[in-house]
């Protein structure tokens, strides 16, 4: 058999990129990784990579809930960031005010944020859907809700910067890397939950139903799925994960009323990079943006790192608005 002509290889590459667009993303990330290792050394890249994983886990946990709500309810929920803030302050209440261990605080935060999600579904989003509210109505309402939540938090806890009762000094040495103990816990918990979420979405009936609804709500309803129940579970799911993400963010940084709103835009970047409505895409994209953000500190001043998420967002919107995993729908 003759060797294929170079143009045929190009064609085949193009074809496989068209069918599996995420291959392109993997190649870009790999190229960035290799370039950084060559310029800064493996140690620095790995060290910042660990920080990136903890940040990325937070983004991913926030993004998976946001993307499902977005796809299922056609709701661009600007209050999602403040769900994270709410979770963080609920953990503060248990962990610092009531002096209980952080594990209890994490579960409490997840529970309360899930209840919050469900509460607003009952009070706002359900009735608004029944009224056939449009996109602009819903988006502005979610912004109003974001302000209301932030106002409530600011009323009770003021704008003072607070910290959770976590160990911020001890470090663990691992393969020559120095990792903060809290940081390590955040990475492990974050990634473990992400894997569990991924499995749950793929394996369980509820996960499949959620994905069915996110593909096409009406079709799912016709197929006999109790959409109301699945919507309620989606809010519980999105709320609990947002609460967890908020606690993790508070554990590695601190608490302030703007915490969640500042995380919201990188989370949106993850949602869009992953392809709106694609839960697996959001998980992967969250990690990618987190790692990219921390890697950027190797080459530019750390004060600019927040811009990385925005940069990714802008590039994706220009080149590939349907996201790296997305199918070309009308965008």
């Amino acid at each position: 058999m003759a060797e294929p002509a170079p143009s045929a290889i190009g064609e085949r590459l193009k074809e496989s990129l068209r069918r599996r667009p995420w291959l392109g993303a993997v190649a870009v990330i790999l190229a960035i990784f290799l370039a950084l290792v060559a310029a800064e050394g493996l140690h620095n890249v790995a060290q910042t990579g660990i920080n990136g994983l903890s940040l990325g886990a937070i983004y991913a946990l926030g993004a998976v809930g946001l993307t499902l709500v977005y796809a299922i309810l056609k709701l661009v929920n600007f209050a999602h960031g403040d769900f994270l803030t709410f979770g963080a302050y609920m953990a503060y209440l248990v962990n610092v005010t009531w002096g209980m261990p952080l594990v209890v605080a994490v579960f409490w935060a997840m529970l309360m944020t899930a209840v919050l999600g469900l509460l607003f579904e009952r009070l706002l989003w359900g009735p608004m859907r029944a009224k056939h509210a449009g996109f602009l109505q819903l988006i502005l309402m979610s912004i109003g809700l974001a302000f209301l939540l932030r106002a409530i938090i600011q009323w009770f806890w003021s704008t003072e910067i607070r910290v959770l009762d976590v160990n911020t000094t001890d470090t663990v040495d691992f393969l020559g890397l120095r990792i903060g103990q809290t940081q390590l816990v955040v990475v492990i918990v974050g990634v473990a939950v992400l894997v569990a979420v991924g499995l749950m979405l793929r394996m369980t009936l509820l996960g499949k139903r959620m994905r069915a609804l996110s593909d096409d709500l009406d079709l799912a309803e016709t197929a006999g799925i109790d959409t109301r129940r699945v919507i309620n579970y989606t809010w519980i799911f999105a709320g609990a994960l947002a609460g967890l993400a908020g606690v993790l963010a508070a554990a590695i940084t601190n608490l302030r009323p703007e915490l969640g709103f500042e995380l919201l835009l990188p989370i949106f970047a993850a949602v869009i990079l992953g392809g709106i409505g694609d839960a697996f895409g959001a998980l992967a994209a969250g990690l990618v943006i987190g790692v990219m953000t921390e890697w950027s500190t190797l080459v530019i001043d750390a004060r600019w790192k927040t811009a990385v998420g925005f940069l990714v967002l802008v590039i994706v919107l220009i080149i590939r608005p349907q996201g790296i995993f997305g199918r070309a729908k009308a965008i």
């Binding site: 661009v76 706002l124 009735p127 608004m128 509210a133 449009g134 996109f135 602009l136 109505q137 819903l138 988006i139 502005l140 309402m141 912004i143 109003g144 809700l145 974001a146 302000f147 209301l148 939540l149 932030r150 106002a151 409530i152 600011q154 009323w155 003021s158 704008t159 709103f261 835009l265 949106f268 970047a269 869009i272 001043d301 004060r303 600019w304 927040t306 811009a307 925005f310 967002l313 802008v314 919107l317 220009i318 608005p321 009308a330 965008i331």
Partner: protein, 338 residues
């Protein structure tokens, strides 16, 4: 347990602030500034159907370009204004070119991200923008300083006003200039809306594909709409800089854009005249929280700030739930569908 009788009548001082000219001037200045921003939003969101969440960026670019040119580069105040407007317009077009092709929800996220990039730049490019200190007048070198130029204009206006009013508030000239601008912008936009150009915008809002099928270059029209909003945003940015006498990154948070959205919704979608009314009502309530003497415990300063935030939030939620067309809007003028 004894109850302080003063704590039981927290609202007793309300009427006093209503006769305080400082209260009304402060309401008027902020209302005017936000009316200008909301006019831009009305053109974009109300009439073209593009949900622009990035007005704060246009305000920031207007204010910063003006302040940088005057304070750092020694340009004259008058020359800096058209340059700042031009910069803001150019930025609007650059942002719009890739993002206006996207669906409305993507565009909203893209514009708020763009506004945050501008704010982040203002916060971190310290040599140029003064970072978190902001830009203010260099007291050692007051000759090239935008408040100075403005002060002399302001004084001459007030000198003229003393013919009718013996002791006018110092911000009165700013108030007058802002509201003249609001009036002119409202007239110009209303005229544009009646022109064929405005009808094309509405066609795009109702059905972009149909407008395209009729041979209209919809992207060009949407870009023009965004560029005009950028001009209005940068003008509002100047006035904010003149009012506050500094240019600071915190003055251009996303919240600013959503204050303007509250003004827009309150006045009503698809009504230019409603914008001014919405602005006055909104800032009357918000500035009211500043002028009413609320008892310190429980109303600390951060709590009063949180009350303002809560009012904005509740207003947005309430209007969207019960009266999405606002006070003067027409329901059929609303882009409420997809």
């Amino acid at each position: 347990m004894t109850i302080d009788p003063g704590a039981l009548v927290p609202l007793a001082v309300t009427l006093e602030s209503l006769t305080d000219p400082d209260f009304w001037v402060s309401v008027g200045v902020l209302a005017g500034i936000y009316a200008i921003v909301a006019l831009g939003l009305q053109l974009n969101t109300g009439f073209t159907g593009i949900v622009n969440f990035g007005m704060a960026a246009f305000m920031a670019i207007g204010a910063y370009t003006m302040a940088i040119l005057v304070i750092k580069a020694g340009f004259s105040f008058w020359l800096s204004l058209p340059l700042a407007v031009g910069t803001s317009m150019l930025f609007g077009v650059l942002v719009g070119l890739p993002s206006l092709r996207l669906r409305a929800d993507y565009f909203a996220i893209a514009t708020i991200a763009m506004a945050e990039v501008v704010r982040l730049f203002a916060q971190n490019a310290r040599e140029l923008t003064g970072g978190n200190q902001g830009l203010f007048c260099d007291l050692d070198n007051p000759s090239n300083c935008y408040p100075d130029t403005w002060n002399s204009i302001s004084e001459s206006i007030n000198e003229f006003v003393t013919n009718f009013w013996s002791d006018p508030p110092t911000l009165l000239p700013l108030l007058l200039v802002i509201w003249v601008t609001v009036g002119l912008a409202t007239l110009a936009l209303t005229y544009l809306q009646r022109a064929p150009w405005g009808r094309v915008l509405r066609a795009i809002r109702e059905d972009e594909d149909a407008a395209q099928a009729l041979g209209k270059n919809t992207l060009a029209f949407k870009l023009q709409s965004l560029a005009i909003a950028a001009v209005l945003g940068s003008i509002a940015g100047f006035f904010l800089a003149l009012d506050l006498r500094t240019v600071h990154p915190l003055d251009f948070e996303p919240l600013v854009t959503f204050f303007a959205f509250s003004v827009l919704i309150l006045g009503g979608m698809g009504s230019y005249r409603g914008v001014a009314v919405g602005a006055v009502l909104f800032w009357f309530v918000l500035e009211g929280t500043r002028f009413i003497d609320l008892p310190d415990p429980p109303f600390t300063e951060t709590r009063i700030a949180s009350v303002r935030l809560a009012i904005t939030g509740l207003l947005l939620i309430g209007l969207m739930a019960f009266r999405p067309q606002g006070l003067f809007g027409k329901r059929q003028e609303m882009v409420l569908g997809e």
